[in-house]
Symmetry: C2
Amino acid sequence: MDAKQKLTPGALYGLLGYRLRLAQQAVFRDFAVSVPGLSPGRVGLLIFIDANPGVTQSRLAEAVERDRSTMVGVLDQLEARSLIKRRRGEDRRTNGLWLTRAGCTLLARALRGIARHEKRIAARLSAAERRQLLELLGRISG
Amino acid sequence: MDAKQKLTPGALYGLLGYRLRLAQQAVFRDFAVSVPGLSPGRVGLLIFIDANPGVTQSRLAEAVERDRSTMVGVLDQLEARSLIKRRRGEDRRTNGLWLTRAGCTLLARALRGIARHEKRIAARLSAAERRQLLELLGRISG
DNA sequence: TCAAATTGTTTGGACGCCAAACAAAAACTC
DNA sequence: GAGTTTTTGTTTGGCGTCCAAACAATTTGA
């Protein structure tokens, strides 16, 4: 009942994958607080569509490194919430993607939340450290 | 057909959460190749149980920062594969966890796979960089 | 002794990953 | 131009992980 026996982390704590998961979990939790109602992944899509209006589903999926088939359901939901619209392209296989006005508005709000979020996260890192973290992460992503 | 219009990443690429996801995805993909048949999370559990035989479900969940309720199903599966066993503790609410012999064997094999995996990942980083990456990730995880 | 907390569990929901298949449309090949 | 191949969006199904709320059994604390 007294002191719980100490837990030895074993090899676990030295594993990159494990440490990445812990970090990502912490970041996502903070994100959820700062940007309610929109998951990191979804905001990412909105940001990307905003920066590339008319982008195709496949190219979007490729750009954010997600599966084409995963994209369908997510976009369905965003469309159902009237945040984006699809429009058939001249290549009639494709759907072009645009933000609706509501989507723009929500994105703007989300971006303010993200700013707070990033600020809170970055508070634990100096600017140089933050930059280097991104650099090292980039090296790992290939 | 020629040059696809360039996609501008927008604010996305500067976001820590996004970059963490990309890195983790890359690491997990490589992991899946190096350690077939066992997800990173599950190997983590085996490692932890091995280092802390008799550990309780709740304490295990807490240690690896997962939910108690998530743990149940995963442990069910590991037990169904005869990799671990549960045994009721003297506090009769608890289940103590141990690796079975098969679990030990599989873990040993997995650890060899992980060694290859980490080596391949670490190839993109110097030892110092790797150390610093872990340090920075730790800072973020809180 | 009685109320409160803990443990494992179930249920239900959400998100994201992947693989295999399919029809429509476009791009190639001959 | 006819026929094959490729691409695109889609559906389906499965897996892993996360979270919240509830519950019975058990232990702890008042």
